[in-house]
């Protein structure tokens, strides 16, 4: 699935049209705690989150996230949109809630890219 398919699937609104919409999304991860994201997410996942501050984008850049979905139709502040544009990372908002969105994406065949705690000594070494 690429970012473009993803947007259609979730009735998403893309904030930075310059982002690469052909980028492949290999799976998903949903979290509001950035440390949880950093600890568990594997590369090239879409991140679903209720947070909208610029740290969401920074975290995503560190963790090689393929796209960010802001859940429940929240509008991210300008700083977040600017940073996403600068990093050319797709920033999407969707009117649906976290559970609904995770369900939709999972049903569409997107696997979980959240690693369970204690799987490996270093979950980011992937």
């Amino acid at each position: 699935m690429n970012v473009k398919d993803l947007i259609t699937l979730i009735d998403g609104h893309l904030y930075n049209p310059s982002a690469n919409l052909d980028r492949e999304v290999k799976g998903g991860c949903g979290a509001d705690l950035m440390s949880d994201v950093l600890a568990s997410i594997q590369p090239e996942a879409v991140l679903l989150t209720g947070l909208c501050n610029p740290q969401v984008i920074r975290t995503s850049m560190m963790a090689d996230v393929a796209a960010v979905i802001i859940v429940r139709g929240k509008t991210p502040p300008k700083e977040t949109i600017d940073l996403a544009s600068q990093e050319e990372l797709a920033l999407i908002s969707s009117p649906f809630g976290m559970f609904e969105l995770c369900g939709r994406l999972h049903r569409a065949g997107l696997p979980s890219l959240e690693r369970a705690v204690g799987d490996e000594p270093c979950s980011c070494d992937e």
């Binding site: 509001d32 705690l33 440390s35 501050n53 740290q55 560190m62 090689d64 992937e126």
Partner: protein
């Protein structure tokens, strides 16, 4: 020229500057003489239209300057040839059909000036003159397109060379032990820029030829530490990254307030962060735990009331070294 002065007077905002593409920059940077066709084929006013037709066909051009004793008299183009063909008048001299209202441009003018003339005049080609108004070339829209394309390719090539050099940095330097040190000052409470140092470190590592995995591990560890400085330090702190071919050593230090109980701070889920910080998605008590999982060695020293010093080391296997060519994954 009225146009250009208006453009220069308008203040350029950061937003404008961001939107200027390299192609637009090149239109101002490149000079006409760099992209024009030099020493173009010319005809004289007495040349017949038939000879002109043969010349155009032979060297595949669609227009030529008409010159007499180095003096530019006009331009003869394929459109003029068509007119003479319609009149069945190929034996007439060029002077009968040429256009003698000549727009010219100087070799030292930027390409954008030529583009403006093309747009306003609907001419297909412009004779190019030097300071003494002598004909030195001819320029078409096609010349501009290929000139800009060439310049862009050169840019691209230069970027490739830069990357190559960075990934071989340490090879070119002769010493018993070479390292590259990056330092970043982190401000307390600066959530807006939080993570920018880590981003810069991650890109530097990629540029030096680190594997994506290695850059990611380092990025995540430094990012957590950077956020710790922003959230917990009294006056901010310093991140110092020393990059050597076989290891990355990171030192994060601040001058307060210090950690009261290190053992407790290392426990997953333990946090002293405020509600505001938690609302930002941090302070889950996982920062130090995450850092430890990403690095090969971690040493945390803190004196309560004095400050904290966190030392991290990441070792690179021989096939993934940075800044020298021995690594196998230098495709970046």
């Amino acid at each position: 020229m009225g146009d250009i002065s208006r453009i220069q007077k308008r203040p350029v905002t950061d937003q404008d500057a961001e939107n200027i593409t390299r192609v637009e920059e090149l239109a101002y940077e490149l000079k006409v003489e760099a992209v024009m066709t030099k020493e173009p084929s010319t005809v004289t006013p007495e040349t017949s239209m038939l000879e002109t037709l043969n010349l155009f066909r032979q060297i595949r051009i669609s227009g030529a300057p008409v010159v007499n004793n180095h003096e530019l008299l006009g331009i003869i183009s394929i459109e003029d040839l068509i007119r003479s063909l319609q009149e069945n008048d190929l034996s007439s001299p060029v002077s009968k059909y040429m256009s003698s209202t000549i727009l010219t441009i100087h070799g030292s003018d930027p390409v954008i000036e030529a583009l403006k003339l093309f747009v306003n005049s609907h001419k297909g080609r412009l004779p190019v003159l030097d300071q003494d108004n002598q004909l030195i070339g001819i320029i078409t829209k096609g010349d501009i397109t290929s000139g800009i394309l060439k310049a862009l390719q050169k840019d691209y090539h230069a970027e490739e060379i830069k990357r190559y050099r960075a990934s071989h940095l340490f090879e070119d330097i002769n010493s018993d032990r070479s390292s590259l040190i990056l330092r970043y000052n982190i401000k307390q409470g600066d959530f807006i820029h939080g993570g920018s140092a880590s981003s810069a470190i991650k890109s530097a590592l990629l540029r030096l030829g680190a594997t994506p995995q290695m850059a990611r591990r380092t990025g995540i560890a430094v990012y957590e530490a950077e956020m710790n400085l922003i959230i917990h330090s009294t006056n901010g702190g310093v991140i110092r990254v020393e990059i050597e071919p076989h290891q990355i050593s990171i030192n994060i230090s601040d001058d307060g307030p210090g950690i009261e109980d290190i053992e407790l701070a290392m426990r997953p889920g333990y946090s002293t962060a405020t509600e505001t910080v938690r609302e930002l998605g941090f302070g889950a008590g996982m920062g130090l735990v995450n850092i430890k999982r990403c690095v090969d060695s971690m040493r945390l020293e803190s004196v309560f009331g004095k400050g904290t010093n966190l030392r991290l080391k990441i070792f690179l296997q021989s096939e993934e070294t940075v800044g020298e060519a021995s690594g196998s994954n230098k495709e970046t």
